[in-house]
């Protein structure tokens, strides 16, 4: 394990932050403060913590999208307050609360446009990665994540083919939480490991434990290095979704016995135990981290909720739709 104690503590801080964000999203949805069907990350926090650790540790700059359950990574890119405000549909959001978390887009912070229909962004990010390579930008790559569901889309195969053919600097990342809405992964693919699809394009593909933030971080760092050397590759992390597809989903399609003992499968608890064994975490730090992360997120929600929503004029602003006056009228 090539991480210092400071890095491990920061990783811990990020896994807790992801947990708190997931819990708060559920809370605010039930209290009617968040509109739409947002997908919280509960159970999958180690994935975001691992990705963030890799991003912070590496000198490689990434441009990409996130899976909808990696909101901590989105927030890291665009800034926590602008992210939360966008989630709430408020004017302090990174897109003025008009685009929404589903369609988040903030190029200056490396956040490429998300897509409602799944499958397409891998090819979109491949195009961006091509531009980086063609401009001779060293150690800048495309980061292309999807869940186990999206990668059955044909466009993802087209994207992998393009990336392998043009030797693009891109990392394809599969956050396999075992279920796509209601359909279990075994009903979606005959493969045991979805990263095996990389072989069809002569790319490297690895599968690691997505509930271990260290394993995720190591795999992502390795994949980023390969990508930076124009070797596109696939990293799959296996995790588990705790919530329904949406908050409030009764999940009638699924055996819910896992809920009886969440601690036994909890990536946060597991990481805590490991860090306590290593002697770098104790109850006091656990309490302090939880408090500070909760405060930052709650403050963000409070600030977001104090903001207005966009006016009709802002939403129907011609310049928000067209780039020049040759656009006609709305």
């Amino acid at each position: 394990m090539n991480f210092s104690n400071e890095e491990l503590l920061e990783m811990y801080s990020d896994i807790v932050k992801s947990r708190v964000l997931g819990e708060k999203i559920v809370e605010y949805i039930f209290s009617g403060k968040i509109a739409g069907a947002i997908h919280p990350c509960l159970g999958q926090e180690a994935v975001s913590a691992g990705i963030l650790t890799a991003f912070k540790k590496s000198d490689i700059i990434t441009y990409g999208t996130e899976t909808h359950r990696a909101q901590t990574v989105m927030a890291h890119r665009v800034g926590w307050k602008p992210f939360i405000a966008e989630l709430l549909g408020r004017t302090g959001g990174c897109n003025d609360g008009i685009s929404g978390e589903y369609h988040i887009h903030d190029l200056k912070n490396g956040q490429l446009p998300a897509a409602g229909a799944l499958g397409g962004t891998w090819a979109e990010i491949a195009g961006f990665a091509w531009a980086l390579k063609n401009d001779g930008k060293k150690r800048q790559i495309g980061f292309a994540p999807y869940g186990d569901g999206a990668i059955s889309q044909g466009a993802t195969y087209e994207a992998m083919n393009i990336a392998a053919l043009f030797k693009l600097p891109i990392l394809f990342f599969i956050e396999n939480n075992g279920i796509a809405m209601s359909t279990p992964v075994e009903n979606q693919s005959p493969l045991e490991n979805l990263a095996d699809r990389a072989a069809a394009f002569n790319m490297k593909g690895v599968t690691v434990d997505g509930d271990d933030p260290v394993a995720v971080a190591e795999a992502v760092l390795n994949g980023m290095e390969l990508a930076a050397n124009n070797e596109p590759n696939v990293v799959e992390v296996k995790t588990m979704r705790w919530e329904g597809h949406y908050v409030g989903d009764p999940q009638k399609y699924r055996d819910l016995s896992y809920k009886e003992d969440l601690d036994s499968i909890c990536p946060v608890v597991r990481f805590e135990k490991r860090l306590i064994e290593l002697g770098i975490l104790d109850d006091e730090i656990i309490k302090a981290v939880r408090e500070s992360q909760t405060k930052e997120i709650v403050d963000g929600f409070d600030e977001g909720l104090s903001q207005t929503i966009a006016t009709k004029e802002q939403v129907l602003d011609y310049n928000r739709v067209y780039s020049n006056n040759a656009g006609g009228e709305l």
Binding site: S99, H105, L107, I125, F128, W130, S323, N324, A326
Partner: protein, 326 residues
């Protein structure tokens, strides 16, 4: 001035824009040694290299989305679909992604991609290779649609489409690839896509709005009717459908009091219905008779010579003009 074909004008426009802006790139199938399926990319890869003329495998969905990513990365892609019909595979990239880039970025980023769509009949290629697609996209805010006909207009408006910062569909009629006309040696100014309508021919008794092969057929029919009736017919080529030059059409209809709109795409939900609506909404008191549409039959395009039963012929145009003149 030089006499050149539509095919040559397409090639010239891309050549000129690639010289003018090194960020212009071409994306599509068979663009290398073959010069594109229709020869319109001839010589471009040889001149500008494989990093500017990118020959792709057969994956329209993939390269449509790729082009959006490249545009966000600072490039200005021209994306060819071999047949406009194949744009069905690129629909998500155009409609859901490209058209909404500017909006979802809060008006910060643009998406300067030109999607090139050779469309319509004339090739006798049947159901999957002969459709007219402009109306599929006219209902999508965020897109622009450019549809010129003559070689000179193709050259000028193709360049304008490539230069425009918004996602633009450049649609031309495959059947008229060999149509020739005078094209200026140097284009003094690349035109704006706004106010692009052009009065092809002036007249006093009827306004005809048409584009692509329907324009050519309407012009032939109008000449016959003028000869036979002594009436004069004003013909307008809009050249750009979105943004549509309404004023030039309204001004003409206010003068003539009559309107016929023609295109090859099926009548139902066709762009002609939109033009008709605008005119009725704005020129009702000047209209002397109900406006007329002449368009493709609302059916599937058959193979071979049978396609002639679908598309409006010169005779159909003549019947439409006579009806509108009643």
């Amino acid at each position: 001035m030089s006499e050149m074909s539509v095919m040559k004008a397409l090639n010239l426009a891309m050549f000129e824009e690639m010289v003018a802006d090194e960020k212009v790139i071409c994306i599509g199938e068979d663009l290398g040694k073959q010069g594109g399926c229709w020869g319109t990319f001839t010589g471009l890869q040889e001149k500008f290299g494989e990093n500017r003329v990118l020959e792709f495998p057969i994956l329209e969905a993939g390269y449509t989305l790729f082009s959006v990513g490249a545009a966000l990365g600072g490039y200005r892609p021209i994306v060819e679909f071999m047949f406009a019909d194949f744009v069905t595979l690129g629909f998500e990239g155009i409609v859901d992604i490209a058209a909404k880039i500017r909006f979802n970025s809060g008006g910060v980023d643009s998406c300067p991609v030109t999607f090139v769509l050779p469309q319509g009949g004339g090739g006798k290629s049947g159901a999957h290779h002969s459709q007219s697609v402009e109306a599929w996209f006219a209902n999508v805010p965020g897109l622009k649609i450019v549809a010129p006909t003559t070689p000179a207009d193709i050259r000028a408006y193709y360049r304008a489409a490539i230069r425009d910062d918004d996602p633009t569909l450049f649609i031309y009629q495959r059947a008229t690839m060999g149509l020739t006309g005078e094209v200026p040696d140097v284009l003094d100014e690349v035109p704006s896509l706004a106010k692009a309508g052009k009065i092809v021919k002036t007249g006093a008794d009827l306004t005809v709005v048409a584009y692509h092969r329907a324009l050519l057929n309407a012009m032939a029919a109008a000449a016959q009717v003028e000869e036979e009736t002594g009436k004069t017919i004003e013909i307008i080529d809009p050249r750009v459908l979105i943004p549509f030059d309404k004023e030039i059409v309204f001004d003409s209809v206010k003068k003539t009091g009559r309107l016929m709109v023609a295109h090859e795409a099926p009548e139902r939900g066709g762009f002609g219905a939109q033009i008709l609506s605008w005119v009725v909404e704005n020129c009702m008191k000047e209209l002397k008779a109900a406006p007329v549409r002449v368009a493709g039959v609302n059916s599937i395009i058959p193979f071979g010579d049978l396609e002639k039963y679908l598309y409006p012929s010169v005779e159909d145009m003549k019947a439409g003009i006579l009806k509108a003149l009643k």
